[in-house]
Symmetry: C2
Subunit: 204 residues, 2 copies
């Protein structure tokens, strides 16, 4: 049903989507994410998504216009792991708690990995990744550091604070790439204690 | 021409390749790398490589057997940036020199990025990446730290030394992902001074 009570200009951008129920939309997004994890972004096809969701390529193009828009919307719809109430009382504890929540959300992790490389080339995907994952995680990391500085665990104006996200990303990606295993909690604990905290305690 | 002077057992594994001249092989490998950078690993097809190199899918399969083997061999053939004589007299200088050499080898960097995600799923690719890039870089990093410790720039048994590659990887990938720009020399200089060196100077 196309809504008619709103002014034309407001309705137009989403009007083409109004034929799908929220339930059907959710099914299609789930199919997109499953295909993404299975094939990677570059090899994902609208045909494969349509087949998995028992839909048609024509429907997908009519509703979303392009593969990158469809994937971006699927990522937005499937908000990942919660960051709420992440406050354990210590910086190391906070990082482990964050890593644990991210680690348990295994599909999100795989979606992130599948999309990260393509996001360099595609601004639409890049924006979705930023909004859904990177932005919220960056905010959480900033708050962690503020609390840690307030407790005196790290110095308040550590120059390394700007590179805190980069150091954590290196632990996640590097563990896979160099050591060919998962960044498990024990590895992260050592990495934080041996590399991250010493850097954050240095006043520059 | 199939060589006949060697014992059968030694010849067999490479015999199927002997019909291509080294020049033709080099052209095919160049086509593989160009396709890889353009399409990413997952979307790369034998058809596209064959078309670019004016060859045929049948030839590619006869010579290499599979896409992952073809890509792995193309990476091995195209040895990246040289690491020879990388010794500037300071750890920061060495890291900048390494980053500069890696940065100038722009295609290698893009090939690495195109293959890194797929290498998690494909042991053949993973082994090629390890042999061509990761292994030599890890050796170079280890030597850098040994020289830096000998000069007294860092402590000899810094617990963070084990995470030196991870921290540098975080700078390269994180700069793109979080800050959406290239890890230029100025960024790397600050990252090394503010995050990496303080960690490496900490005795644990």
């Amino acid at each position: 049903m196309v809504p008619t009570s709103k002014p034309e200009a407001e309705v137009a951008p989403r009007a083409r989507r109004t034929r799908l129920t929220p339930e059907r939309e959710a099914e299609l997004y789930a199919a997109v994410l499953a295909e993404l994890v299975e094939s990677g972004y570059d090899a994902l096809t609208m045909e494969a998504v349509a087949a998995r969701a028992r839909s048609s390529k024509a429907t997908l193009y009519r509703q979303w216009g392009s593969k990158s828009r469809l994937v971006a919307e699927a990522m937005r719809h499937n908000r990942p792991f919660s960051l709420d109430g992440l406050d354990t009382g210590s910086l190391a504890g906070d990082i482990h708690e964050l890593a644990g929540r991210m680690g348990r959300a295994k599909q999100d992790h795989e979606v992130f990995r599948a999309v990260a490389a393509a996001a360099h080339r595609d601004p639409e995907l890049g924006a979705a990744l930023q909004e859904v994952t990177i932005g919220p995680v960056m905010d959480t990391l900033r708050e962690m550091l503020e609390r840690a500085a307030a407790r005196g665990e790290i110095v308040a104006d550590a120059p390394a604070a700007a590179y805190f996200p980069h150091m954590l990303l290196g632990a996640m990606f590097g563990r896979k790439l160099f050591d060919r295993c998962e960044p498990d909690p024990e590895f992260l604990r050592r990495y934080v204690d041996d590399a991250v905290l010493p850097a954050l305690r240095h006043r520059g």
